[in-house]
């Protein structure tokens, strides 16, 4: 058990006051390692809340630099950060909120060759990527290495998220078998997103990470939560682990990591 300093007791007092969390739960958070893939619309709020919550080690992966069009929703980046690597910009804010944590940065693109070496060190992964090849790669690597993760996606006024505990609950491929054909993915001119939706979804993903680490409540496993911000309708669709899932089913056809055909990422990059 960690000996809390009086500063820590005060900083985390609103967690410690929660009966379900308490000092034990806070100690688990401080001992936990969470990886955030993508320092964008979803990763930004997740990074801020996980840092504030005192997740002891947070990794953040992103190869991009901050652009002015990011600032409409990627709230971890400020106007002064334009042209700075996103991982550095995010790290600066996370440590400003909470200097008591460690932030590890990976300024690179995740691919079939490097992903397992990166995720291996973490207890939980928050997927905040915008493109389907990487989403499938994160799913496949996490299933292979038994690392729980949160899937998140947003589009225009909609959001969806699910939590995957490999071996126990349905994975992303149980729902979505393979990436959509690149030419079907909405183009730059068609797509867009209401900025606050990224915040709604990224904070749900952060909450799932905190719930997983503290073992509080029920995770969004075997459940795809979707919402539409125009109506503010939230729906849960349940799905058990599928026997014919290409990776976690009985006769898996996905047995090694591959880099799926890259959709023109310009389109989804706009998110």
């Amino acid at each position: 058990m960690i000996d809390f300093t009086s500063e820590q007791l005060e900083r985390y007092s609103r967690h410690i006051l929660l009966q379900d969390v308490g000092v034990e739960g806070q100690a688990k958070l401080l001992g936990a390692k969470v990886l955030i893939v993508g320092a964008g619309g979803l990763g930004a709020p997740a990074a801020l809340y996980l840092a504030a919550a005192g997740i002891g080690t947070i990794g953040i992966v992103d190869s991009d630099t901050v652009e002015i069009s990011n600032l409409q929703r990627q709230v971890v980046h400020f106007t002064k950060d334009i042209d700075m690597p996103k991982v550095e910009s995010a790290k600066e804010k996370m440590l400003a909120i909470n200097p008591g944590i460690e932030v590890k940065t990976y300024q690179e693109c995740l691919n079939a060759d490097n992903i397992r070496a990166i995720i291996r060190d973490y207890d939980f992964v928050v997927d905040g990527t915008d493109n389907f090849p990487t989403k499938f790669l994160v799913n496949d690597a996490c299933v292979m290495d038994n690392i729980p993760f949160s899937h998140g996606g947003i589009l225009r006024f909609d959001g969806q998220t699910m939590t995957v505990v490999p071996g126990k609950s349905a994975c992303y491929r149980c729902f979505f078998r393979k990436p959509p054909p690149p030419d079907a993915v909405p183009t730059c001119s068609q797509a867009g997103v209401l900025g606050a939706i990224a915040g709604m979804l990224g904070t749900i993903q952060a909450a799932e990470a905190l719930k997983y680490v503290t073992e509080v409540g029920e995770l969004l496993t075997d459940t795809l939560l979707s919402f539409n911000a125009k109506t503010m309708n939230f729906r849960k669709v349940t799905l058990q682990k599928q026997k014919n899932c290409p990776i976690c089913g009985e006769n898996p056809t996905v047995t090694e990591l591959i880099d799926e055909e890259q959709a023109l990422t310009c389109n989804l990059r706009q998110y």
Binding site: G40, D62, D130, G152, G159
Partner: protein
Amino acid sequence: MQITINGEDQQLDDARLTIAQLLQVKDVESPDMVSVQLNGEIVDRSRYDATEISDNDHVEFLYFMGGGTFA
């Protein structure tokens, strides 16, 4: 027939319909961006033409959503 789509009861004029036809009838913009769940099971995309829906079926259109940022 009467079916449920994404939790809403829907009356359809057609007596017989495949998943592929249902996607058309319901004006689903880009069927490639949808995963279809029929009565709790995911239907393989290659079987949309061969799979028929019937009265009282529960259908979910699950949309592919990206978002976040490119990593």
